[in-house]
Symmetry: C2
Subunit: 151 residues, 2 copies
């Protein structure tokens, strides 16, 4: 497994931010970095606490502000889990969500592990609706392994 230096990581985020017209800042890099893992979907408070636990000082209002800004430019995704809790997702590999109706858990499914079922329908949707579509996300609703047993 190739080692990635901090500088490389930083410049990768710097570029992603510049591409969407945002400045690179430490809080932003840390938020993006925190979110860019599989199955990580924190609430704003959880993200805030998570960063502090890593020893990073950051303000809660900065967290809120940046979650908004990063969502607006499409770098992260905001959603409600099945219990109605607001969560954020910044995992950069294309993926979908499994959401458990019973316990509320949300798990990622990599798009690369599934056939390409979405790509062909996007042009159809565009044609039918006259919208311009640049991405699509699926939420699969049901029961996780633990909850499906106890029913």
């Amino acid at each position: 497994m190739p080692r990635i230096r901090n500088k490389d990581r930083a410049s990768a985020y710097r570029e992603r931010l510049r591409n969407v017209g945002l400045r690179h800042t430490l809080p932003r890099e840390r938020i993006l970095s925190f979110l860019d893992r599989k199955n990580v979907h924190p609430t704003p408070e959880e993200l805030y606490q998570g960063l502090r636990k890593k020893g990073y000082a950051i303000g809660l209002s900065t967290v809120y502000l940046n979650l908004q800004v990063l969502r607006d430019v499409g770098l992260i995704y905001e959603f409600k889990d099945p219990k109605g809790v607001t969560r954020y997702d910044g995992y950069s590999k294309p993926h979908h969500h499994l959401a458990c109706r019973s316990c509320g858990r949300v798990e990622d499914v990599l798009a690369s592990e599934l056939p390409e079922f979405l790509e062909p329908v996007i042009p159809e949707v565009e044609a039918k609706s006259n919208w311009e579509v640049d991405s699509a996300r699926v939420t699969f609703l049901g029961y996780c392994p633990r909850c499906k047993r106890s029913r």
Copy 2:
């Protein structure tokens, strides 16, 4: 177009509610009825005002409570629009969402107008993940006809 009597409507809702173990009440029927239309995705406040405008007295906390209850049993769907506003969807025909990154608008796309692209992948997802999936919703992200022009 066949005429549907109020009694029939009421008993249809009564049955849907009983199927999920909930009592039939007037507030519930009115909420379900309000939401069961294409392209209707109100916030709790909008739903509350909408019902009052129809002349129905209802409490705001009753609206909140029932949105939760109905979501928990799967009769309605709760989501965030691209601007981060919490909205509800109770349209009973299977459909997906188009969401505009620019203005935040959300529009429904009937599943019946698209090929059956989801059904085949659900068993695959179940196999890969070991979850039990009972439904899937797609959010297509992009730009609506109005916003795509001005870019």
